[in-house]
């Protein structure tokens, strides 16, 4: 399952990255005479409401959607691991302050804050990554902190400390590698959440702005002509579906692989 997911994801990612070379069409060049053409040999997925080749936009939209998903999670994981690592390593008042911050962030009703932030800071891919990532790191922080709290008392850490290793070295070389498993699993699953969040924001008109394509805004735009041109809705939906399934199955696979208890069942 995980392997299939990996293959799907790799294919989606590579065709998106190679979009410019794969498709002869421009993703933004409109052609009003070809509005909402059915799928044909010239346009395998048909055209959209401005006569643009849907396949091309799917490829280019994939860049944006995948990039937003991955980068938002990368950001969340970086913030989360840093906060969690520092809190777990130093403990005491540092831990206390940082954990109150985590409590605070968790107490924020995320979708409401998301809407406000998207309204204020606009909706280009960079701000979307910052906003989505900035609201999703608390789980990772708690996880890493928990792992560190238990790890830091272990012998090999004590040993490193006695040998005079700096805190950053201990964190990076000794603690983090031992806590990385759950982080990877959680973040993989987080990617699908981030992609779905982007599409939901698009539905509310707060996603990626035109003419740039994202699967989310393509799906939303399709809403207006769903009956007349179902293909404009089917393909972006399918892409999101495939990506999320792929990412989730990779996440599940990793969890099983990293969970020692599960090994015997395989």
């Amino acid at each position: 399952m995980a392997l299939v997911g990996m293959v799907i994801l790799l294919i989606l990612a590579s065709v998106s990255i190679l979009a410019t070379w794969i498709s002869p069409y421009s993703p933004i060049k409109t052609s009003l005479v070809e509005m909402l053409d059915r799928p044909s040999t010239a346009h395998p997925m048909g055209t959209d409401e401005l006569g643009r080749d849907l396949f091309t936009r799917i490829l280019h939209g994939g860049r944006v959607s995948l990039a937003v998903g991955f980068l938002a999670v990368a950001l969340a994981v970086s913030i989360g691991s840093t906060v969690g690592a520092v809190a777990g390593f130093y403990g005491g008042w540092v831990d206390n302050v940082l954990m109150r911050l985590v409590d605070f962030m968790i107490a924020l009703p995320s979708i409401f804050v998301l809407i406000l932030l998207a309204t204020i800071y606009g909706t280009n891919p960079v701000t979307l990554v910052l906003v989505i990532g900035g609201l999703r790191w608390m789980g990772t922080a708690r996880q890493v902190r928990g792992a560190f709290l238990s790890l830091r008392e272990r012998e090999f850490v004590e040993a490193a400390r006695c040998l005079g290793a700096s805190p950053s070295r201990i964190i990076l070389r000794h603690l983090l590698p031992n806590a990385i498993g759950p982080i990877i699993v959680a973040s993989t699953l987080g990617i699908s959440g981030a992609i779905l969040t982007e599409s939901s924001l698009s539905y509310l008109g707060l996603g990626i702005q035109p003419p740039m394509a994202s699967w989310g805004n393509m799906l939303r735009n399709a809403q207006d002509q769903m009956v007349r041109a179902p293909w404009t809705a089917v393909f972006p939906g399918l892409m999101i579906f495939l990506t999320v399934i792929a990412v989730n199955s990779i996440g599940d696979g990793l969890r099983d692989a990293l969970d020692p208890r599960k090994v015997e069942e395989r």
Binding site: K29, L204, Q209, D224
Partner: protein
């Protein structure tokens, strides 16, 4: 946004009620002295009107409605895509609110579908001819109908009008606009059914004041009404009585048995269903959960192609979708200062090239499905609308013009002159589908002539914000904006506010005025001053024509297409007449259900 979909342009329909001096109307024949043109004329509180007058001149039955005699009874369900804030005519600006209020409240006079004022609660429209307007035009007398009752059975008298006036002027009430009312010197009740209003100076659109009357008795004379329950459970004199309003779901009004027009309204009940978006309303119309969907956009018309049970009501409205170009510097300390120059758009050749480069016809044909016409003037219809030919589409001419003006194509195709790149930001309200589509097409058309546009849409609350909120159009910190506005019944206020050089928002006038382009044009200023100073309709029309031609030539605004008023309805909904000067519900007492 999705209320984010507050469609500001259509909010402008409130502006449809901007006062037209009654005397300016051919139907009224008389012409009182005109407003002083030296100051910005203030448009008047545009409270959309009320039940139709008993006047024999009232709405002729439209052809569509002639399929039989009206059948009384039944419940009509109308989808509104925004929820009214409240139902007090003076505490709310949204058009959704005025649609509902139109059925509940009555006012002195109201415009009919031809743009003529007809009496409502007043017996006749005051003019100098009938002696109700004094010779100096400053004193107006209203005679009221004596057969009107409030929904709770109490008689309607001049006391109620006075109370309404006191409410508007009460400092504690956050009323949306006091324009006109603040120029009233005295309000005198002559008898129960006669009152006299004296203005400090002649106020041309006087006739549009008192567009909705509040009852005094429920308040027992207390005029501080901001927090009153009345705002949500109003009592009026209109054809329908308020029944209930479960928040976020629907508003129900029921037939006013005592309505002063005997035999009307026909419907027993009207339910306004609140939907979060137009799309939801359309779905509900298709399933038959509602009978009418209020205020669609042109691009939604094909949604109903081939639907045998639904009629799309699409008629030319007053709105014109336009690009607004900034003539002043968009950045720096003196951004928006009319003495500065926009690095690109201050060149008239660039502006001309922009218009030449846009294929408006293609946009109308493809994005608006050929349902409307291309724009060429701020006044698309009405007595003062001049005939301005549609602009030419010629990318070749545009390119030549730019070449000749010294704008040479750079390496990326974008033109450059003296180190300045012809690259502009292009903003409209985010989440508006039709605008987003038009934007992308225009972006590409202009790329063809070497002008780069960067789309940077922001929510309508920001784009249409005020000077104090730092809105880009008020502050002049934009390149090109796109939205619709609507000149209302009397074009003067619209033209003056948007194009007269005295109306440029600046620090000095605290951002008052809507000349967002920072247009300073002598012909425009002189023509508008002249039009504002003469009561002569022909002279005014000629002056407006000169002004509009100069505006079009300046390309302060580039008019893209004329908007339609679009509503959808089940075929059995009868009796409705389109009135571009008012909203859908203006004649709801004439509607009936044929099934």
């Amino acid at each position: 946004m999705t209320t984010r979909r507050i469609h500001w342009t259509r909010l402008g329909q409130a502006g449809a009620m901007i006062g037209l001096p009654g005397a300016l109307l051919a139907a009224c024949g008389e012409q009182p002295p005109a407003a002083s043109p030296t100051k910005a004329p203030e448009a008047v509180k545009g409270e959309p009107a009320k039940p139709v007058a008993a006047a024999p001149t009232a709405v002729p039955a439209p052809a569509a409605a002639s399929s039989g005699t009206p059948k009384p009874g039944g419940t009509l369900k109308i989808a509104l895509y925004q929820e009214p804030g409240n139902l007090n005519p003076y505490l709310n600006v949204q058009t959704a609110g005025s649609v509902v209020r139109n059925t509940i409240f009555g006012g002195m006079v109201r415009p009919n579908e031809k743009g003529e004022y007809v009496p409502d609660l007043a017996k006749e429209v005051p003019t100098t001819k009938n002696g109700l307007v004094s010779a100096d035009g400053k004193t107006i007398t209203y005679k009221l109908r004596q057969d009107v009752k409030w929904h709770d059975g109490k008689p309607f008298t001049a006391k109620d009008v006075k109370f309404t006036f006191d409410v508007i002027m009460d400092a504690a009430n956050p009323v949306t606009s006091r324009s006109g009312y603040r120029d009233i010197e005295s309000f005198t009740i002559k008898d129960d059914y006669t009152f006299e209003v004296r203005f400090k100076a002649f106020f041309a659109p006087f006739v549009s004041l008192f567009g909705a009357i509040l009852p005094s008795h429920p308040f027992e004379g207390k005029t501080a009404i901001e927090k009153s329950d009345f705002n949500r459970k109003p009592i009026g004199t209109g054809p329908y009585k308020f029944v209930e309003w479960p928040s976020g779901d629907h508003i129900t009004v029921a037939k006013n048995q005592d309505f002063y027009v005997k035999g009307k309204p026909y419907l027993d009940q009207v339910i306004f269903r609140i939907t979060p978006s137009r799309e939801v309303g359309i779905a509900q119309l298709k399933t038959g959960e509602v009978d009418v969907v209020w205020n669609l956009i042109e691009a939604q018309i094909p949604d109903f192609d081939g639907d045998k049970e639904i009629d799309v009501w699409a008629k030319p409205g007053l709105g014109v979708e336009r690009l607004v170009l900034n003539f002043s510097a968009p950045t720096g300390d003196k951004a928006g200062d009319p003495t500065t120059r926009h690095p690109v758009l201050s060149d008239p050749k660039v502006r001309e090239a922009i218009e030449l480069g846009i294929n408006k016809k293609l946009i109308v044909d493809k994005l608006l499905y050929g349902k409307t016409t291309v724009g060429s003037s701020p006044l698309s219809t009405g007595w003062a609308a001049p005939a301005i030919p549609a602009s030419e589409f010629s990318p070749d001419k545009a390119r030549k013009l730019l070449d000749d003006a010294g704008w040479k194509a750079g390496p990326d195709g974008t033109r450059v002159k003296d180190g300045v790149k012809a690259s502009l930001t292009y903003q409209t309200t985010s989440g508006d589908r039709l605008r987003e589509l038009a934007q992308q097409v225009i972006q590409e058309m202009l790329k063809e002539v070497g002008i780069a546009l960067e789309i940077k849409n922001i929510p309508s609350a920001s784009l249409l914000g005020t000077w104090a909120d730092g809105s880009p159009r008020a502050k002049g910190t934009f390149d090109i904006n796109m939205w619709t506005t609507n000149p209302g019944i009397d074009p003067h206020f619209h033209l003056f506010n948007y194009f007269h050089s005295s109306q440029i928002p600046t620090e000095a006038n605290k951002g008052e005025g809507q000349n967002y382009s920072r247009l300073k044009d002598e012909t425009v200023d002189k023509s508008l001053d002249e039009a504002g100073s003469t009561p002569d309709l022909d002279k005014r029309k000629a002056a407006y024509e000169r002004a509009v031609k100069a505006v079009s030539a300046s390309r302060a605004h580039i008019f893209l297409y004329n908007r339609l008023d679009v509503d959808g309805a089940r075929k059995y909904v009868m009796g409705r007449t389109h009135n571009p000067w008012d909203n859908l519900a203006w004649d709801l007492e004439n509607w009936w259900i044929n099934k």
